[in-house]
Amino acid sequence: MRTTLVIARRELAGYFATPVASVFIVIFLVLLGALTFNLGNFLDRNQADLQPFFTFVPWVLLLLVPAVTMRLWAEERRSGTIELLLTLPVTQAQAVIGKFLAAWAFCAIALLLTFPIVITVNFLGRPDNGVIACGYLGAILVAGAFLSVGSALSALTKNQVIAFVLAVALCFVLAMASYPLVTDFLGAHLPAMTDVARRIGVLERFQDFTRGIVSLNDLIYFASVIVFFLFLNTVILEARRAD
């Protein structure tokens, strides 16, 4: 556990040692702000909630989380530091979880930096802050799910562009899995999978959170997605670390 945290701490410090962190956070906030206020008509709705904000959060995460994860393993491989890291007395799982935790903490920081919008809505009206807190919890879980997907794919290739594109694609499918876009396609080609797809849609789960519902089901769902992809990450790493 301590080893995992040492790795996570190094990773997290790594984000802030380069412009990656500031660029990411600024783009994240600007994009989210622009979408919420312009497309979402945040102010014109005259409602004291963050519904328009939370509508866009998953989409911004879908774009930016793969930008964080694309370098996780691809960069280690390119620079050869993977040989150093994996010949220290750490297990693959510790390395994978350490990196994941750092990326997750980083995304959580970015999400929490949207707090001015919470202040704004509290200033203008009387929102249900419990619902808002649930929304943030859901957003952090969505980020975690996307991060685990992106991290696993980053272990697959040395090429960061490929890691990015694959991660966006797979996160998109995972997000939309319960929507007609995906279920209709599966219904036509792979009927057996339709039912599975309905259960694994990220967006639908997230919407529960934005309505202020935190169900055990949803929590278990996000935990399983994250554990599954991190496990996949260790398997890929084990098979391909020296290639």
């Binding site: 080893t3 190094r10 620079s79 040989e83 994996l86 010949t87 007395p89 297990t91 020296a242």
Partner: protein, 282 residues
């Protein structure tokens, strides 16, 4: 005619006894560990190690053992399979066949224990470029289970051993090549491991530093089993008690530097190396 002229076990045994008498007890006291079966078994044991990339065989049934007190020079032309062998020993590359043990721990089945006993300098000495030297070594110490004061002490010792104090707070990416190499070396020595595997440790160092590193290796030699790969043949004379020459993945010679030199009329290691490795290629 040259290959394996030497019955390997014997000299190892003699050296082993010479080195192990009181030193083993001292070493156990220093490292505070009892995991390695250092009393009788060699610290590095490699048996039939083979690595194939597709149909290409990079390392072909390589076997050797290194007891405490021995400095093994690992020689061979570019692409001979030196780095691949060392990577398998460090548990980074998975062998296609064969086994490797570090201090008695199989690198496949007990990887974490094996790596605790090992200091490994990967080829090219990769380090995290954004980190400062102190930050990087502190990270390695933390992963190796040192925290607080113990960690600072380890880092300071490693800095002093490799002459890195003047650049301690500089980001690694701003260092010259030789200093980067020293950072990699410091990382390998940090925890004072009984087994050292160093892939081209003196590559890119200036003559003074080469001398320093060789002195350092010689000084550590009695308590450790050390494998270094190198293309600098005078280094073999300077620090190694034994040399293995590999070509196209196979061991073509395994002997003391002095015995190897006698294999060629000129008595020069360069000529022996050329004779051994070009004959293999032909």
């Amino acid at each position: 005619m040259l290959a394996r002229a030497h019955p390997r076990g014997q000299r190892g045994l003699i050296l082993g006894y010479a080195g192990l008498g009181g030193l083993h007890r001292a070493a156990v006291a220093v490292f505070g560990r009892s995991g390695n079966r250092a009393g009788d078994a060699a610290l590095i044991e490699i048996e039939g190690l083979t690595k194939r990339f597709g149909t290409f065989t990079a390392v072909d049934r390589v076997s050797f053992t290194v007891p405490r007190g021995e400095v093994l020079g690992f020689l061979g032309p570019n692409g001979a399979g030196k780095s691949t062998t060392m990577r398998m020993l460090a548990g980074f590359v998975t062998p296609t066949e064969g086994t490797a043990r570090v201090a008695g721990f199989d690198v496949q089945t007990r990887p974490v224990q094996a790596r605790r006993e090992l200091g490994f300098l990967p080829e090219g000495a990769p380090t995290y470029p954004d980190m400062t030297v102190i930050g990087f070594l502190g990270f390695c110490a933390g992963v190796r289970g040192y925290h607080g004061a113990a960690r600072n002490r380890r880092v300071e010792q490693a800095l002093a051993l490799t002459g890195l104090e003047p650049v301690a707070v500089q980001p690694v990416e701003t260092l010259s090549k030789g200093f980067k190499r020293r950072v990699g070396l410091a990382q390998a020595l940090l925890h004072d491991p009984p087994v050292l595997v160093l892939d081209e440790p003196t590559d890119g160092l200036d003559p003074n530093q080469k001398h320093e590193v060789r002195t350092l290796i010689r000084r550590m030699a009695p308590e450790k089993a050390i494998v270094i790969s190198t293309h600098i043949l005078e280094e073999v004379d300077a620090v190694c008690t034994r040399a293995i020459v590999i070509a196209a993945g196979r061991i073509v010679a395994d002997d003391t530097p002095a015995a190897l030199e006698r294999l060629h009329p000129s008595g020069r290691l360069d000529d022996v190396f050329r004779a051994l490795t070009t004959k293999q290629a032909a």
